[in-house]
């Protein structure tokens, strides 16, 4: 691997994204990407007694599914990278406790999926044969933890995003036919002082802008190098802010840019306001939809940039602003 510029590592032996799997909830199953997901659940509980246990089950089954699809024996997968939104990342640790694979717990809020792929790709680039990465979220467990009891039927502001119920899991390998992770641009924490916990898109957009500009500067690329630039989940509000920030910096990204939170739900029919969010949003949109587009060569070069809001409900109560982060990886066939 080779460091280029300030924050980008370019790989000499780019890891192959060998296989992906996705399991999502019922609302995601009603959305425009339903046909790309491996499994769509009929309800948010999946036979479990609590939302948290259901989320763990989604993580567990998504990991099992990607291993089965890959044909790689589980004992040949050398490292696992996983994280989620629940306090102390319990959906990952409970969901993966029987996996029996060395485990690195990570937390990057909704940037977790790409953070995991970034770390895993460093391992695979340097001689590790196979890794598994997962990220998950669950609408009900998130609402309960971060916002209000669901039973309250609280009104959601128009800027708020809908946490995706779902998980994505990805196996990286040191051999294979691609798509390849060719570089990673790892983000710094960016805090522009936004305090509205119902407007995560606005809080995270400056971090996405910072990482994207750094990526262009480090690599000498411009937006048109890519068939698609995708943010993790800025939603409609954050997407517009990122387009505007880019325009002001002299970059027109409109023709290639979209957001996983915008793609996963139908704006007119599904009433999610500013679109999807949660670690499971980027994870399932990539592992379901984008991976297949790459495999079928409908997309050949993408920049996947997951964004996270590094706060909790208490930090907002204590008057803190919302630090954002964005991790980017370029994926090419």
């Amino acid at each position: 691997m080779k460091k280029i510029g300030k924050q980008t590592i370019k790989f000499n032996n780019p890891p192959t994204i060998l296989e992906c799997a996705t399991i999502v909830g019922p609302k995601e199953a009603d959305g425009p990407l339903a046909k790309y997901f491996d499994r769509c659940l009929e309800n948010e509980m999946w036979g479990e007694k609590t939302w948290e246990k259901a989320e763990s089950k989604i993580v567990k089954e998504t990991a099992n599914l990607v291993i089965a699809k890959s044909g790689i024996p589980a004992n040949e997968i050398e490292y696992c990278f996983a994280g989620d939104l629940l306090n102390q990342c319990i959906s990952s640790s409970f969901g993966l406790r029987e996996l029996n694979i060395p485990f690195f717990g990570i937390f990057g809020a909704c940037s977790t999926f790409v953070e995991g792929l970034s770390l895993a790709s460093i391992f695979v680039e340097n001689g590790i044969k196979h890794t598994i990465s997962t990220a998950s979220s669950h609408f009900c467990s998130s609402e309960k933890q971060f916002r209000f009891p669901l039973e309250l039927g609280n009104q959601r502001p128009q800027t708020s995003q809908w946490t995706v119920t779902g998980a994505g899991a990805t196996i990286l390998s040191n051999s294979g036919q691609g798509p390849y992770i060719t570089s990673i641009t790892s983000g710094k924490i960016v805090d522009m002082g936004i305090k509205d916990a119902n407007n995560m898109g606005a809080a995270m957009a400056p971090a996405a802008f910072d990482t994207m500009m750094t990526h262009f500067r480090d690599t000498g690329r411009s937006p048109n190098y890519y068939d698609a630039i995708l943010t993790g989940d800025l939603g409609y509000v954050g997407k517009d802010i990122l387009i505007e920030l880019s325009e002001k910096a002299g970059y027109n990204i409109k023709s290639v840019y979209n957001d996983c939170g915008v793609l996963i739900f139908d704006k007119e029919k599904q009433d999610t306001h500013s679109g999807g969010s949660g670690c499971g949003c980027c994870a399932s949109v990539f592992s379901g939809y984008l991976f297949k587009q790459l495999k079928e060569k409908k997309l050949k070069k993408i920049l996947l940039m997951a964004t996270g809001a590094l706060m909790n409900s208490m930090s907002s109560q204590q008057g803190e602003s919302i630090p954002g982060i964005a991790h980017a990886i370029s994926i090419e066939i």
Copy 2:
């Protein structure tokens, strides 16, 4: 780097632990290791309005201190790895938001410090010049979050451990005179069905045993290869269990083994019951005490093995057991 056995990576160009810094709270300042810490606070608040803000300040100042001590310009430190016990790891993200260094958030409960050093050492082994790793915890913010309001003056069971208020920060470099991280043995999640959230030592000891045995098997080493084997924070109860499990497996570790949670407080005078715990325990005992022992060649080869309990307060309420994990690194001069 080279994978040896199932879970161990041995380094060809072992990263140097260039510098460490530690800031701890008043109880730690009354303990037997006080003289090794860079700064001991007079109270748990450090002029902040909340315990959480105080913890963030400890993280921030510890990171600033290690950078200052190292003499490395902050803009030459290429990656940061950090985590803590607070929900969504906010002490790290708020404490380090002004650091302006690409940031990987990690969560391994009390194993976080060694998890961070493990990941950082992979980066440095493969060409990155400098990294910073931090981990922190705070007695008051942890008690509030995981157990009872402090104001309740609740009785603590004899098996419970006392969360350390403090942070450790470490800079790894690809050149320097050591001590070196020569190998990492990364742990799997181990869940033996222990459900008592007031007996973390018992929940984590099987994970420590699993990682230690794996390390011996992978490397062909036995306990007497090391001057010292140190667990992160099993405390007195978990320490005894690990000694017993090792004896049954034919390994006598007694003469070289100790625990950071046992070392940091005085058993007779400080009434912490089973000893210290928290991400900040292993982080401050290593960054304060052990690092200096290594620099002064009083210790030449140590196995540092931080243990984490991957649960939250809700998982216990939902009847779940406590999955444990242990990450080990060998450090040699």
